[in-house]
Chain length 130, copies 2
């Protein structure tokens, strides 16, 4: 018996020199692009195991589950990979807002500085500075 060459097999993601790939989170229903963050092999593994979006924080240098502090978790419906296998797309069901500023999307400004995105929560109510 030979292996089935047509069977779907996991794509070999190219994590590159720094061990990270950029991942775009998109609202699975509305199509809104919510954020861009970075993903390590472990972050991808945890995302697939748990169905909740995990990333790797470059500034804090640690694995990070989206929404652990804010409650604004992302349930991941599907993970896609691009043609070069060096970028990911998370199709998510976003609880609350993706952005720490209180906006639904981190991409809530034009490059000209105009705010175009919806604000859905007050960060003071969500992030405890005390």
């Amino acid at each position: 018996m030979t292996a089935d060459a047509d069977a779907d097999v996991d794509v070999d993601v190219d994590f590159g020199a720094d061990g990270l790939v950029p991942a775009v989170a998109q609202d699975a229903d509305s199509g809104e692009v919510l954020m861009l963050a970075y993903v390590s092999p472990t972050a991808l593994e945890r995302t697939r195991e748990t169905g909740r979006a995990h990333y790797y924080s470059r500034s804090r240098d640690e694995l990070w589950e989206k929404g652990v502090t804010s409650g604004h978790v992302q349930r991941v419906e599907e993970v896609r990979v691009d043609c070069d296998a060096d970028a990911l797309l998370y199709l998510v069901d976003q609880e609350g807002g993706a952005c720490h500023t209180g906006h639904r999307s981190c991409f809530h400004r034009t490059v000209e500085g105009e705010t175009v995105g919806e604000r859905v929560f007050d960060p003071d109510d969500v992030y405890d500075d005390g």
Copy 2:
């Protein structure tokens, strides 16, 4: 007379150590995420000047106008920037397909290897290898 503090001013994009930021191209009508590529200060400037998407190729180490070879240009309706100003979102009107494989989107596969995206052209008809 004082400057108007409320006036929209261009966001100061953080191009980071390597002088590049990731940019997501999204179909302005359908909301489909088409591709992720990198943008240099010059690529952003050209994009805003011409209204056509420019990127910076890390592999070829050069400025790159999307669609120059294939004809599959992206007319940019809006450029957005994320909360940390280190990622961009191009809202585009995509001619043909964004992906060199002939698919509408570079994100046409799940990480499990299943093809889920639409193929809209035959690369052999578009890219001249001769």
